[in-house]
């Protein structure tokens, strides 16, 4: 029983982090219909920025993550504005390939600069743990979880309540109409992509604090973003949060009770089952799942 409780707590904590990883991915997919294969690369890049900040300036990773977010935001904005916007109206595999090319460059670039060694941002407190009865909760993970959930909720509020956020939503619903209303679609797309990259970078810095990372971990974060975004569904900003928590739990329980590495297949099983039986996701809107490619 205590094993189950421990797994549940761990799953929820991990799920919160996954939600922050995937929320930007889901936003970009929903608004621009771009599946960003470089998303995992952004996450790891953010982890390295956080690592550098800690290494050179002694900046605490929970402050350094804001630097990661800023760097990645600028990077993402420029990428979308001057590169991805060039092919945004093409068939879907064009954007898939473009972002895959980006991913190759980012991951290989990180390999060249930082080497393939595993790293971790070390702090004095992150591995201390609190004990609640028989359940132990590492402090770093708890902090990361709380921040991840808070930032996701903040993003939802910004998108749903500010003019900028509403212009992002409007552009996602009907770009032509949005442009007629005076919304600068190029800027809005770049902004959306920048926000997504920034949040990925922030999540990366947290991941670097609670565990280890190296450049080739990027692919698994891209895949997890897929799974979380699909499971949660597009068109509802809380989708990534719901999807992340569910996947976190499923993986933690799977790891506890399944033999071998069967747990790795579990996430994909969930993905396929959701796609077949409920393509709108758990809380998504049908509009996005039924949308034809433009």
């Amino acid at each position: 029983m205590s094993g189950f409780l421990q797994a549940t707590v761990y799953g929820l904590l991990q799920g919160g982090l996954l939600a922050l990883v995937a929320v930007g991915f889901s936003l970009v997919w929903g608004v621009m219909n771009v599946v960003n294969l470089a998303h995992g690369g952004f996450v790891i890049l953010g982890a390295y920025v956080g690592w550098e900040m800690h290494e050179w300036f002694g900046l605490d990773p929970f402050l350094g993550m804001f630097v990661s977010a800023a760097v990645l935001f600028v990077f993402g904005y420029v990428l979308q504005r001057f590169l991805i916007n060039l092919v945004i109206n093409g068939p879907i595999f064009i954007t898939l390939l473009l972002t895959f090319g980006l991913d190759l460059m980012i991951v290989q670039g990180m390999n060249l600069v930082f080497s393939a060694d595993y790293r971790s941002i070390k702090t004095s407190y992150a591995s201390n743990s609190l004990a609640f009865g028989s359940v132990r909760v590492p402090l770093g993970r708890l902090l990361a979880f709380a921040l991840a959930v808070a930032i996701t909720v903040l993003l939802v509020a910004v998108v749903n309540r500010t003019r900028t956020g509403l212009s992002i939503l409007a552009t996602g619903m009907d770009r032509g109409a949005a442009r007629l209303m005076g919304i600068r679609a190029r800027h809005v797309y770049a902004l959306t992509f920048g926000i997504a990259a920034g949040l990925a970078g922030m999540a990366g810095a947290m991941i670097g604090t609670v565990g280890t990372f190296n450049p080739s971990a990027a692919a698994s974060f891209t895949l997890m973003s897929f799974v979380v975004a699909v499971l949660g569904g597009l068109g509802n900003m809380y989708g990534a949060l719901v999807g992340g928590l569910v996947i976190g739990l499923v993986q933690a329980w799977g790891g506890q009770y399944l033999p071998g590495t069967w747990v790795n297949a579990l996430a994909f099983l969930v993905l396929i089952v959701v796609l077949i039986f409920r393509p709108t996701g758990l809380v998504g809107r049908a509009f996005y799942a039924a949308r034809q490619e433009v």
Binding site: W29, N33, V35, L83, N85, L86, V87, I88, N89, G90, P91, I92, F93, I94, L96, L97, L98, F100, G101, L102, D103, L104, M105, V107, Q108, G109, L112, A185, R186, Y189, A219, L223, F226, V227, V230, G260, T261, W262, N264, A265, F268, L269, L271, I272, L275, I276, P279, A289, R291, Q292, E293
Partner: protein, 345 residues
């Protein structure tokens, strides 16, 4: 023909069916290319022979992807699953069940095709990114399944096909043999592509690509067409995977279900020109050649440069080289900058 030539709509009919020379020209060119490939073999030393065999392998893979992704427009992002299923079926059949390679090869094709039908029926109802991601999920999931079926597949430690001694069911083909085998698969895939392109089947697929509802309204059984195409594409990919497994002798799940292989197929098709027969052929040869050149000359930077090339190619020629040339010849508009404007926001 004799009665038709006298009729006034002769012009129309000949455009529809194509002149005999126009119809047979590409096949003749293909024959010349085949003879050249056979002649080339004698000129290569064995390392080069292996490199060229890999180019043939990717020609076959790109052609197979083009059937489902190019003609039908369903971006299968998990195509490598058929490669892996074919490869693992052959490895298991040869080492556990003592089948000969040729028997395993053929069966691998059918097993991969059957697998395509099983996953195709539910997944081909999805569209666009959802189909892409679902197939990717199948491929990644299958890799984990194969990794965990350790008794049958050896798991992460890999499985070795017996090639020497009493357990060897078929003698190892060697570089010469594999050159011919992969050339044969490339030829098969190009022939299949060529037949589909000129056939009613191919027109049905293009109709599905352009507007699936309209295609259904025209009386095309879209589900059956899509599943058949997926199976055909899976069949060829399975054959290639089986041959690859025998060539490598020892295979591992990470390599046989490597998502990079899928992406390479797609890039080759897209850069060459999707929905054409020449496009995937040119794309596979060009990209594999370039990749090998980069690997040998810029060992560390090779993936980085490859990424940059993919980006530039996708931005400048989003519709692929062959489609661009056809369009440019028709409209006399050769500017690449004008081409970039097409998909720009």
């Amino acid at each position: 023909m004799s009665t038709l030539t006298k009729m006034p709509q002769q012009g129309l009919i000949s455009t529809l069916r194509g002149d005999r020379a126009k119809r047979l020209g590409p096949w003749a060119l293909g024959l010349v290319a085949l003879l050249a490939a056979l002649g080339l073999q004698g000129q290569l030393y064995s390392g080069q022979e292996r490199t060229v065999a890999t180019i043939f392998m990717f020609v076959a893979l790109a052609q197979a992807w083009n059937l489902i992704g190019g003609f039908a427009g369903y971006a299968s992002f998990g195509q490598v699953v058929f490669f892996g299923v074919g490869g693992y079926f052959t490895a298991v059949a040869m080492s556990h069940w003592h089948f000969s390679f040729w028997m395993s090869l053929l069966l691998s094709g059918f097993v991969a095709a059957l697998f395509a039908v099983i996953i195709g029926i539910p997944l081909l109802r999805l569209k666009g990114h959802y189909f892409a991601i679902a197939t990717l999920g199948v491929a990644e999931g299958m890799r984990e399944v194969v990794t965990n079926l350790t008794d049958l597949t050896g798991g992460g430690a890999g499985i070795t096909v017996p090639t020497v001694g009493n357990n060897a069911t078929t003698a190892y083909l060697g570089n010469d043999g594999f050159y011919l085998l992969f050339l044969g698969l490339a030829v098969l895939s190009v022939i299949v592509g060529g037949l589909v392109a000129r056939n009613k089947f191919g027109y049905a697929l293009r109709a599905i690509n352009q507007d699936e509802d309209a295609a259904a309204a025209l009386g095309i059984n879209t589900t059956r067409m899509k599943v058949l195409t997926f199976a055909l594409s899976g069949f060829i990919t399975g054959l290639v995977g089986a041959s690859y497994a025998f060539q490598q002798v020892t295979i591992f799940p990470e390599r046989l279900f490597d998502v990079d292989i899928t992406v390479l197929m797609i890039i080759m098709v897209v850069i060459g020109g999707s929905g054409t027969v020449l496009g995937p052929l040119l794309g596979a040869v060009a990209l594999q050649f370039l990749s090998e050149f980069l690997r040998q000359n810029f060992t560390n930077l090779h993936t980085f440069i490859l990424g940059a090339i993919i980006i530039v190619a996708v931005v400048l020629l989003p519709q692929g080289a062959v489609n661009y040339m056809r369009e440019a010849r028709r409209t006399k508009e050769f500017s690449l900058l004008a081409n970039v404007r097409k998909y720009r926001l």
